[in-house]
């Protein structure tokens, strides 16, 4: 399989879906002439023209509102919000309309909408531009929420998101755009609702959300030196959660750590930990621990920002705590 950049895998998904189905179109800020702030949509305007690659004003509520209208009317819009931080301006449209219209109309209309949401910290963009709002979307019934971490999944999940009849919040970690990975040549979908076991282990399960799943894999390598054999699960689908894969893993390892970049309080980790203890209480050998971002507005200072985001070191330390090792503070 050829290796491709994460951003290229996304672009291929958009291109192939637009070629396959002329109801599919892209809409967002700077996605056409400029090629997208992260170069994901580069070249699509030339191929598909301005009717299918729509540059918009800086008005997130309008972008999503229009896309919802288009989706209800039979098109299949793929919205790019420049960053997830700006999606708060469209939160009303997403929560009040996208998530509920199918329900409120008794299933007579569907909202086949994809909202691509680049997010995450680590680029010194300070408090207002560094959010990880996974929980904010994953908590809403009526939305599907996914967060790919590999180019293969980026392409497969985006295709699945475009093809489903329901609104999908498609969370992209900005730090992963330049990562490489193998991408199959054929037309494939990565199913929404399935987690991926990235590494098989027996001592504890580390569930990673978005980019933290990648860091969890690196932490697992480091844990080998400590004679700890970690299983790493990439949650991938935040709603619905793949309980079956999580349960199988924790029933084997008896211990679990959940890692996300967003704030721990009311976070994805809280949901996973609560759901697991409810389902496999009698298999637990230690409390399920959560690791998340520091509970502060993201600092601008490089060192402080680094300290506020879970690192491989942090994951290793928390994993050792989960397996009951004494850890130097």
């Amino acid at each position: 399989m050829p290796e491709k950049l994460f951003r290229v895998a996304l672009r291929e998904a958009l291109k192939e879906e637009m070629e396959r189905d002329d109801r599919v179109f892209c809409i967002g800020e700077d996605i056409g002439l400029f090629g997208g702030s992260y170069r994901v949509t580069e070249g699509l305007l030339d191929q598909f023209g301005p009717m299918r690659v729509v540059d918009t004003p800086i008005a997130e509520e309008v972008i999503v509102g229009s896309a919802i209208g288009a989706a209800i009317s039979g098109l299949r819009p793929v919205v790019e919000i420049m960053t997830i931080n700006f999606s708060l301006l469209a939160y009303d449209q997403i929560v009040q309309n996208a998530a509920k219209i199918r329900y409120m109309f008794g299933g007579e209309v569907t909202v086949p909408l994809v909202v691509r949401l680049p997010g995450g910290a680590g680029h010194q963009l300070s408090s207002q531009h560094s959010h990880s709002f996974e929980a904010l979307y994953a908590m809403i019934p009526g939305l599907l929420t996914v967060a790919p971490t590999t180019p293969e999944d980026a392409k497969g999940l985006l295709k699945a998101a475009i093809r489903t009849e329901n609104p999908v919040m498609f969370l992209e970690s900005m730090s992963l755009y330049n990562t490489r990975g193998e991408v199959p040549d054929d037309d494939y979908e990565t199913p929404i609702g399935k987690a991926a076991v990235r590494r098989v282990g027996r001592d504890l399960t580390i569930v990673g959300v978005s980019r933290q799943a990648v860091l969890a894999g690196l932490a697992a390598q480091r844990l080998e030196d400590e004679d700890v054999d970690a299983e790493v699960i990439d949650l991938r689908s935040l709603r619905p959660i793949d309980w079956s894969t999580l349960i199988d893993s924790v029933q084997k390892t008896n211990r679990c750590l959940v890692v996300e970049e967003g704030w721990t309080t009311y976070g994805v980790g809280a949901e996973v930990a609560a759901g697991l203890q409810q389902r496999v209480f009698d298999d637990l050998d230690a409390p399920i621990l959560r690791l998340g971002g520091a509970e502060v507005p993201m600092p601008y200072n490089r060192e402080l920002e680094r300290a506020a985001i879970p690192s491989v070191d942090d994951i290793v330390r928390e994993a050792l705590r989960v397996v009951g090792r004494r850890v130097a503070a």
């Binding site: 008896n254 209480f281 637990l284 050998d285």
Partner: protein
């Protein structure tokens, strides 16, 4: 101020007794320390303090009190010691107790078995959920396990280690025996009833003694293989056939062995008929088909006839005479890996030869150690019919014939 009440330690517990106060009245205590030992209807438990402070004992030891009744108080550092509690509640509970006893028609047995016995772990052992589950499954007493987890928590590995220590590789709990009567009565087949009667009769009335020899069988094995490869009619000759032929010759030479003790006299048999002990094809039991006149038949004939007679007997279709007229028997358990054994004589015969397996063994010969094939044979003898010296001579004859098997290949009239 914290009240300490009589805890309800099982579903059936209605009252409890402080067996022993582990702390003195007025003593400074800490949360988590053992305060007292409480006896319920089923077992005794230790209870722990739920607060730091000074202990004020309300109920003395040895006095049964109902569940929920105040038994002690714990006061904090700034709190006034409690007023002496009224004794009335205790007395009022004690008063109706005899009535309860008088009314109680049901014996206390009714309690037993209604609930599993409560264990102490729920009260004070810190253990993870999976450790608790495993402890229950493996029958490990959590209170006896040293926890290695944070703050002494008993974790899964501790329970597994305790289970390993306790029992090694032994299964932790034997599977429950299926329900049913302790003894199952099995009716014997007629064959089994006959065997039981005859063997008991033999062992009870025939004075057995036993003589064992070990024979080198390298030659016999080699000859048998040559026959198998080169003589089609002898392809199925067995070691038992060799032995049958050897015994036939030996019996001819030692007619005392081919005899019986009947009504206080010896009966010498003119015929030499050898019975071969075999298991029937179906069911349990023992058959002894007889090859007649083995002294007048060569090895190939013996081989063919014994195979036929054995086959007929095992399949349950013996011909007249197949199971009768034996004057001597051979029982070979070598194919089952038996080294040697002693058989019971099949009356009215005077002896039976029990044969073990052929095995490779270290053999000392002329002061040199070598590897050879050996086979052990034990002759059971009716001491009334012949004696140790004859038995030894007979066995030496059989041994010699087996060790030098060329003779066994000769036709009988050439001997």
């Amino acid at each position: 101020m914290t009240d300490v009440n009589m805890p309800k330690l099982s579903d059936t517990m209605e009252e409890g007794t402080v067996l022993d106060w582990k702390k003195r009245d007025g003593e400074q205590i800490r949360k988590g320390e053992v305060l007292a030992e409480i006896e319920s209807d089923k077992a005794s438990f230790e209870i722990e303090s739920e607060a730091d402070g000074i202990l004020h004992i309300v109920v003395d030891r040895g006095k049964p009190v109902p569940v929920g009744q105040l038994i002690a108080r714990i006061t904090g550092p700034d709190e006034e010691p409690p007023a002496p509690p009224p004794q009335a509640p205790v007395a009022s509970v004690e008063a109706p107790a005899p009535q309860v006893e008088a009314v109680a028609a049901e014996p206390p047995v009714a309690v037993a078995g209604s609930q599993p016995s409560p264990t102490t772990d729920g009260l004070r052992v810190k253990a993870s959920p999976v450790a608790r589950r495993l402890a229950a499954e493996l029958g490990v007493d959590l209170s006896a396990v040293q926890g290695t987890g944070p703050e002494g928590r008993v974790v899964k590995e501790d329970v597994l280690a305790a289970a390993r220590r306790r029992s090694g590789p032994r299964p932790l709990q034997p599977a429950p025996r299926p329900a049913g009567p302790e003894v199952e009565i099995v009716e014997p087949t007629r064959m089994q009833a006959t065997i039981a009667r005859r063997m008991a009769e033999s062992k009870a009335t025939v004075p057995h003694f036993y003589v064992t020899v070990e024979a080198r069988v390298d030659e016999a094995v080699k000859v048998r293989e040559q026959l198998k490869e080169q003589v089609p009619s002898a392809a199925q000759v067995t070691m038992t056939d060799f032995l049958t032929r050897a015994c036939a010759i030996a019996l001819t030479r030692y007619p005392q062995v081919n005899s019986s003790w009947v009504d206080g006299r010896f009966e010498r048999k003119r015929s030499v008929n050898i019975g071969l002990a075999v298991a029937p094809a179906q069911g349990l039991g023992l058959l002894v088909p007889v090859v007649h006149d083995v002294d007048r038949k060569d090895l190939i004939q013996i081989s063919i006839e014994s195979r036929q007679v054995i086959e007929r007997a095992r399949s349950g279709r013996p011909q007249p005479g197949d199971l009768e007229g034996g004057t001597f028997s051979i029982s070979n358990l070598g194919m089952y890996g038996v080294d040697e054994f002693a058989a019971i004589i099949n009356p009215p015969e005077a002896a039976i030869l029990a044969v073990g397996r052929i095995k490779e063994a270290a053999v000392v010969e002329d002061g040199r150690l070598s590897v050879g094939k050996v086979m052990r044979m034990t002759l059971a003898v009716d001491h009334r019919v012949f004696y140790g010296a004859t038995a030894a001579q007979f066995m030496r004859e059989v041994q010699g014939l087996i060790e030098h098997p060329a003779v066994l290949l000769l036709p009988p009239d050439q001997l």
